[in-house]
């Protein structure tokens, strides 16, 4: 009766003892009323009385139970999940406190491990996010320390590779008028010595845009719809502000991948240039951020005010247009969101400026410029008519020639 196991199952485990060959052997473990018994595969038997047994939990899985005598000369170990409960039952609760202690320690260690894991994982995620935005923001800040020649290169390459299909207006008076508007504003630009390059494209689109470096394009549609040079000056001042505030370059950095961002931080701008040129080619379709638009509005208004031009001239232009056709927004406005808010902000800004008498572009005969553009169109239409008639005449002559040849052959 004394040797009878109190638990139905035997447990597989092992024994550590210096008397064993190699100091260790696998064993079959049974539990009786008074002790833990381990019989090794070599036939040796080891007995630990419950009263003199100390418990520990460990091993590679952390779940292995080690039962040791007081002088630690014999250790019986078992990894079976049911072993702790069986041990508690067999010892009639004698080892309960010991089992609760080791299981409690294990749970505490496990919790600490998971705690460390979550702290580590959170730190890793934060470092990744921080690194990503750090590089992005760092690159954004770094572009402002780049020389303006980077903007000029992007602008020049973008303009030369742009395929917009519009004819450039070569009327010297029209081009000179736009150049005069720019020249008047130029001394007040935030970056001195920007070499503004102006071109006028023949298109009914009511738009204007600027590429980095000072490449400004005005469409004839804008000139045609405007009432005065001051209204166009308002649009051009806004576009010049995009150039001097380097919004084009900022927009490029917004699109930068991490690799190009790191390159910029290290001073290599080749990737930035390539991306800038690619984006610059679609300048008419891309829009700036709301913050950049507001900044350009206010900077443009400042330049106009400094140049003694009414900073609200552009507002008059668009309010007139909106009144005429409330739903048909011009192209320049459709790429510039929150129009009413911007108009209101401009008006608020103008109120903060000291009152003064504004000048006008007296040297530009705006009505003449507009009529010259209409004249160009008429001229083009006439030219087209003449060339069509010539083509028709040519075709008729060709047909006569063919008919003559046929007659000769027959």
């Amino acid at each position: 009766m004394f040797d009878q196991s109190v638990e139905d199952a035997d447990f597989q485990g092992g024994v550590f003892c210096k008397e064993l060959p190699n100091g260790r052997a696998s064993a079959n473990i049974t539990l009786d009323f008074t002790s833990i018994r381990a019989r090794t595969t070599g036939g040796d038997e080891f007995v630990l009385r419950y009263g003199e047994t100390n418990l520990e939990m460990g091993g590679s899985s952390g779940r292995m139970v080690f039962c040791r005598n007081a002088d630690k000369t014999v250790t019986i170990f078992c990894e079976d999940k049911k072993f702790p409960k069986a041990l508690e039952n067999a010892s009639s609760g004698e080892l309960r406190a010991e089992i609760e202690r080791v299981i409690g320690n294990r749970k505490q260690e496990s919790r600490r491990g998971w705690g460390m894991f979550w702290i580590g994982a959170t730190v890793c995620v934060l470092l990744l996010i921080g690194g990503y935005f750090g590089i992005k923001q760092g690159a954004k800040a770094a572009v402002h320390s780049l020389p303006f020649s980077v903007d000029e290169t992007i602008g020049e390459l973008s303009q030369s590779s742009m395929q917009d299909g519009f004819k450039e207006v070569d009327d010297p008076k029209v081009v000179a008028a736009i150049e005069a508007i720019v020249e008047r504003l130029e001394p007040y630009s935030a970056i001195p010595d920007v070499k503004y390059q102006v071109r006028v494209l023949d298109s009914p689109i009511m738009n204007a845009y600027a590429l980095p470096g000072g490449y400004i394009t005005v469409f004839t549609g804008l000139i045609a719809e405007s009432e005065s040079a001051e209204e166009v000056a308002g649009v051009i001042a806004h576009e010049m502000a995009h150039v001097t505030k380097r919004h084009g370059l900022e927009r490029v950095t917004g699109q930068l991948g991490i690799v190009v961002g790191i390159q910029v931080l290290l001073g290599d701008v080749s990737g930035l240039l390539a991306l800038g040129v690619e984006l610059g080619q679609y300048a008419t379709q891309n829009s700036y951020s709301r913050l950049q638009e507001t900044e350009a509005d206010l900077e443009g208004a400042r330049m106009l005010y400094e140049a003694n031009i009414d900073p609200l001239s552009v507002v008059t232009l668009f309010e007139d247009l909106k009144a005429e056709d409330p739903l048909g927004l011009p192209a320049w406005l459709s790429t510039h969101p929150d129009t009413q808010g911007r108009i209101d902000r401009l008006k608020d800004y103008a109120k903060t400026l000291p009152v003064k008498e504004y000048d006008t572009y007296d040297d530009i005969d705006w009505a003449d410029i507009k009529s010259r553009l209409e004249g160009d169109k008429d001229e083009d239409a006439d030219k087209n008519e003449v060339s069509k008639q010539e083509d028709k005449k040519g075709e008729e002559e060709d047909l006569d020639e063919v008919a003559k040849e046929d007659a000769e052959d027959s």
Partner: protein
């Protein structure tokens, strides 16, 4: 099955003599030479049909191969020579209904009765020790052969023992392994070149290798010419 470990420890070769019908399960690519009366069966399962796709995948994660090679002697007095991938040592560890946790590529060959599986060691250990998340778990009864990079030395741990990461070959399942600092302060540990180390606790056998494959790779890599 008889074995002989030759030319230790730098360029060790393991010779295993098999009687007719005896088999040996080996790491893919470990065979150097063999007698003509041997057949080889390549499968992801243990000899006898245990395991399969999942065990193969788990082995892959632990740094071992998806497949296992089972060599069987068809005639009497057959022998096979096996060698480790890296210049190093081979040791023999008999298992008696026990388990040995083996570092990624250190399992070389074993008795077909030994199950070669993978054991999860946790993210933390993998992240900080540079070891794999899965380790090879060899359990059962029979002969087991391990290889190393450099020489292998054996330690009977009773209490605590510290090993630098990358130098562990294998340890018995009775040992618990944690990641800790080499010195008292974390900065001092890193400045001393040891950084985080593997700390063993408990009672059991531990095998360490004299060289560390990642350190060797870092030393050699920059010297190699790009192709």
């Amino acid at each position: 099955m008889q074995h002989e470990i030759q030319a230790r420890p730098a360029a060790t070769v393991l010779k295993v003599d098999l009687e007719q019908g005896e088999s040996l399960t080996c790491e893919v690519g470990a065979m150097i030479a063999m007698s003509s009366g041997m057949t080889v069966e390549t499968t992801s399962r243990q000899k006898g049909g245990k395991g399969g796709l999942m065990k193969g995948l788990k082995r892959m994660f632990s740094g071992e191969n998806f497949f296992l090679n089972h060599f069987t002697a068809q005639n009497p007095d057959q022998s096979i020579y096996l060698g480790p991938t890296l210049m190093g040592d081979v040791i023999y560890h008999p298992l008696d209904n026990a388990t040995l946790i083996v570092q990624g590529a250190s399992w070389l060959a074993s008795d077909p009765g030994i199950e070669v599986d993978a054991s999860w060691q946790g993210f933390g250990k993998a992240l900080f020790s540079g070891e794999s998340m899965f380790w090879v778990k060899c359990s059962g009864t029979g002969d087991l052969f391990l290889n190393s990079f450099g020489a292998i030395y054996e330690v009977d741990v009773d209490g605590q023992y510290t090993v630098d990461s990358g130098h562990i070959v294998a340890f018995e399942e009775t040992l618990q392994f944690k990641i800790g600092k080499a010195g008292k302060s974390l900065i001092g540990s890193f400045l001393g070149g040891e950084g985080l180390v593997c700390k063993f606790e408990g009672q059991g056998k531990l095998y360490c290798q004299s060289h560390n494959p990642p350190s060797f790779g870092k030393l050699l890599g920059p010297q190699l010419r790009p192709r």
